[in-house]
Amino acid sequence: MSSSDGPVASTGAQLSRWFREGDAGLITAVMIGIYVLFTIFAILSPSQGLGGIVATLQAVTFWTALYAMLVLALNLHWGYTGLFNIGVAGFMAVGVYTFAALTAPTTGSPPGLGLPLWVGIVGGMLVAALAGALIALPALRLRADYLAIVTVAFSEIVRLSLLSTSLQEFTLFSSIGFIPDLTLGSGSGQGINMPINPTIPVKSLFYTNPTNPANGEITGLGETVFSLFATIGVRETVVVSIGYTLLLLAFVALFYWLLRRIGNSPFGRVLKAIREDELVANSLGKDTRMFKIKVFMVGCALMGLGGILWETQKGFTDPTSTTFRPIQTFYIFIALIIGGAGSNTGSVFGGALFASLLFQGPLFVSRIFSKFIELGDAPSTFAGAVAPALSLNFAPAAAYTLKNIPSLRFVLVGLVLVVLMQNRPTGLLGHRKEVAASIDLSERDGRTGDAAGKPAADGGQMPDGVRSESDSASGGERDD
């Protein structure tokens, strides 16, 4: 992916090397592992045969892709530049609601501008980027902690404003005569409809009337694909979801490509220097403020796009959605920390592990248990669950635990974080430091770095205090 500059032949060679030595192979292996696990889950849980398995794997991939996108966007801020943005949910909300305002039909309630899909997407990204600039301008002049405070406050202000009834429907330009009135709104608690959304292009492959499939015909392609999947018991809706999930995967690839490109360039080198020591970057003549503002805007635009792809596919949203809550920001942060801040592969990796094992996995475990073990009705309070256990009747406690698995996920997440911080504080792949340059720095006009002497080759010349651990880490770091 990163090798797209090179000639085709070397691209192929690099791609195969990339696959063999690391990233693509690693991600594939992890995804296969997750698929195997969830296939077992699907078989064990009260499912509908092969169709159920396919639907399960689709759901896992769907959540993986969504998290991977957002984690990659956050990696640009936190992993690359060290900008502590804890308002991810707010920037997603700005993207989603801008999209909604631009694309919702003019006759809707609340009404929108009825513009095409792509205008909505581009507009959503632009406004999210502008919101980022607005936040960044004052906050980036201060220390890192202030950016964190400002961003988390921003995300809550956005969410609460959207919830406010005073913005449910409002008219712009009503007092200015020559500009036509423009009625928009957030819909507040009642939410907003988005009949035009990114699933439409996917649906239009299968249906002649994608906005309302029931009122139209199935296309030729749709017939073929649906009947093919029907033979293994997969429903139409699942097929459409698979189509949308593939679209999401394409976006993950796009995010990954963009970040790699940003990272492996002189621009990315300055970002890395800012993360390490901003005063040094400044003293070397880099206008770090401009770099920070630019990268903050790009990251926010990506978060806006991620939000749009995440939230609008249901065709409806309202401010109470979990997507816009601060907890979402922390989920994304946790996924980034698990994978390893600073590593793009780690970001995808963390997104996959979080979405599947920590987020979806416990629900399946709960379902499987309740299928095989009859525990009776779960008590409604903790006391009700614990009291019988004192007389050695553990069934109510177990039933209570299973019933509350969605909440217990937090305990699990906390546990994973504690174990990770103790054993691998940099995350699973955070120790791999990718070199920030558009070319291989160890090569020089024909002669390679090996000729100049690799650090691994002259361990004897290493200064005191070099830890063998970091030595081996840097020895294994050369990934294209």
Binding site: R261, S283, A437, A452, R478
Partner: protein
């Protein structure tokens, strides 16, 4: 966080200041001397009546001196004399309360650190500030000015990236040459955080050189450096000076300054104590008084 514990330094000054202020040089007199000198010599850097106080403590008080183009000028003084603060004022890390800094004829006062570096006035730090998680190669690749790939559009857009790569190849060649010059090419792919103290000093100097500066401010470049390496660094500095670079050097080691610098500026408790050729400084009574009983 950003300043080299300047406020702490100055706190030391402030405590003793009231007691000794009567004995220290009259700042006005020193200032006049400096401006006289600036007319006489071909000045690269002119510092005039520079003052900075932190919460009522005068870290730097009406300091004036000039650095001749192509010279190796030493800036000495006991701990807490305000040397690092002076550096921070010259390089725009702190904004002076009053006074003026002129570099190659243009006024630097109030300008931002990065702009000053772009103008060719580059500094190193007292405690080497290498970029730990970046390799030695990356550290050096970072420095060159006006890299087109530092523009996001050029870095990302497919058609424009070819030129960036071309430019990077040229810089890479210069980086390797510089690494060889400083004899740290065997550490090229090592992370800067893994280098020894002396190697970090070499790295900092090499990195600063990649900017093609006209003048370098070196803040204790020999601190924590073994004698062999110190010799090597000094040789490098003398070579660069012969090529036309100007140096202002902060150093604690009096002998080293006396042997290598042709002009010495002495600071004490935020004020200018004396300036002149080493021989003169060596016999200056005020300097001897200031250093008496101090560990130099």
């Amino acid at each position: 966080m950003t300043d080299n514990d300047a406020p702490v330094d100055s706190a030391g000054d402030g405590g003793a200041e009231s007691a000794v202020s009567a004995e220290t040089a009259s700042p006005g007199g020193a200032g006049d001397a400096a401006s006289e000198r600036s007319e006489a010599v071909d000045a690269s850097l002119v510092v005039e009546d520079l003052s900075k106080s932190f919460g009522g403590i005068n870290a730097v008080n009406e300091v004036s001196f000039t650095v001749e183009r192509g010279s190796l000028t030493g800036l000495i003084g006991p701990n807490g004399a305000g040397k690092s603060t002076t550096f921070n004022l010259i390089t725009g890390v702190h904004e002076p309360d009053s006074g003026r800094v002129t570099f190659e004829g243009s006024d630097l006062t109030g300008r931002r650190t990065n702009e000053i570096a772009q103008d060719g006035l580059v500094r190193t730090f007292q405690i080497a500030r290498e970029l730990e998680e970046m390799t030695v190669l990356e550290n050096l690749m970072l420095a060159p000015r006006a890299q087109s790939g530092e523009k996001l559009v050029n870095a990302v857009t497919p058609g424009l990236r070819g030129r960036v790569r071309e430019e990077e190849r040229d810089i890479r060649e210069r980086v390797w040459e510089t690494l060889e010059l400083f004899e740290i090419d065997h550490l090229a792919e090592e992370h800067a955080g893994n280098l020894s103290g002396g190697q970090r000093k070499l790295l900092e100097l090499a990195r600063a050189l990649m900017l093609d500066p006209t003048m370098m401010l070196l803040d204790e470049p020999f601190a924590g450096v073994n004698p062999t390496l110190e010799e090597k660094l000094l040789d490098r500095i003398h070579e660069l000076r012969e090529e036309g670079l100007t140096f202002l050097l902060v150093e604690h080691d009096m002998d080293l300054i006396m042997e290598n610098c042709e002009h010495v500026v002495v600071m004490h408790q935020g004020q200018l104590l004396a300036q002149g050729p080493p021989a003169e400084i060596r016999t200056n009574e005020r300097v001897i008084d200031a250093y008496l009983g101090e560990d130099i």
